[in-house]
Point group: C2
Chain length 194, copies 2
DNA sequence: GTCTATAATTTGATAGAC
DNA sequence: GTCTATCAAATTATAGAC
């Protein structure tokens, strides 16, 4: 049978979504290009037509997810003026993200990006995590947050939330992560509130 | 020149320490048995004499580090009776561990063990992390800790500390991790104290 | 733009001498 | 217990027809 020519953009998307699924499930190194080919039901040639290498697929995924996470975090912070509300909003957005797109969040939180993208910064030095620290620093400046090392304050408040997301993605949370939202925000905030 | 026969235990240790170094540096999949051979300056045959497979090396490392972390955590908790002191003691021990043996801690915190040890539990379900939750649960029962979901309380207190260890291992902490000890314990405790 | 076929390497692992 | 030599399979990537 003749191969049905598909729209080019669709194939590219298919490769990316298939790769994300497999990378999240087994990790980058345990996923071969053959695995992607098989799962997506396309040919090796097609994959290499759209991407230079397996690494380029991971890079495209990484760039995309980082820009999406940055947008989500930035928008969440911009929705409010009070520091506590900014923090709640960010955590809400992250929890929502991790429920609506668990594969992407899994790839963000669990993948050792530097193992296959050597020039990638540690995830905690990327823009979304910087934004969280900036919110805390502004909160300290305005007197809403205690005089703490911003690194410590971030670690407790957002680190606690991130930890919950890890647990959720590992499948060891008894309830949906959204149900922990209020408690984690209130508990974390109590730690750092002025 | 004739190969100098070494004590068997020494070779085994050498293989393990070399593998730990490489696994921590590049990850399990990015490290080949050839890499281990080259780094340890021994032969392939010697490696396969001591271990059945590359996987068996990782398993041995994993079992060892888990039992050491369990001992450290258990001992730290047993040194005190008050919940806050137990928590401080555990975090102190973990920080010390991560400074005295950063490679092992890196392997614990960063490695995606389930990628290469399919039957391994998520790291947060292992004994050391269970112990931390048990301390919190006992603290709630005794009235030292507020009536919180123990998962949330653990995430904020110990998750904050674990987050700092991640930052330290990623090399983005400006000061030695030990200098953050007091602040992270006091801040985390404030979140969950009754 | 998609395909099949295959090249070039590298991988984990084994055999057998010493 | 350590070594060298080697295997079979899998890997990433390319070539070239359609």
């Amino acid at each position: 049978m003749t191969p049905a020519p598909k729209e080019p953009q669709k194939t590219r998307e298919l490769i990316l979504s298939t790769a994300l699924l497999l990378f999240a499930e087994r990790g980058y190194f345990a996923t071969s290009v053959q695995d992607i080919r098989r799962s997506a039901d396309i040919s090796i040639g097609s994959i290499y037509h759209h991407f230079d290498s397996k690494n380029a697929i991971a890079r495209a995924l990484y760039d995309d997810l980082l820009s999406r996470m940055t947008t989500v975090t930035q928008d969440a912070a911009d929705m409010h003026t009070a520091t506590k509300e900014k923090c709640r909003s960010i955590i809400t957005a992250l929890f929502a993200f991790s429920e609506s797109d668990p594969l992407t969040m899994h790839f963000v939180l669990h993948a050792r990006h530097r193992e296959f993208l050597p020039e990638a910064m540690p995830i905690c030095s990327t823009r979304p995590f910087e934004l969280m620290r900036e919110v805390i620093i502004a909160g300290i400046a305005s007197g809403e947050v205690r005089q703490l090392d911003p690194i410590v304050a971030s670690a407790v408040l957002f680190g606690g939330a991130v930890r919950l997301m890890h647990l959720a993605l590992d499948g060891v949370l008894p309830r949906p992560i959204a149900t922990y939202l209020e408690e984690i925000v209130e508990t974390g905030w109590r730690a750092i509130a002025a």
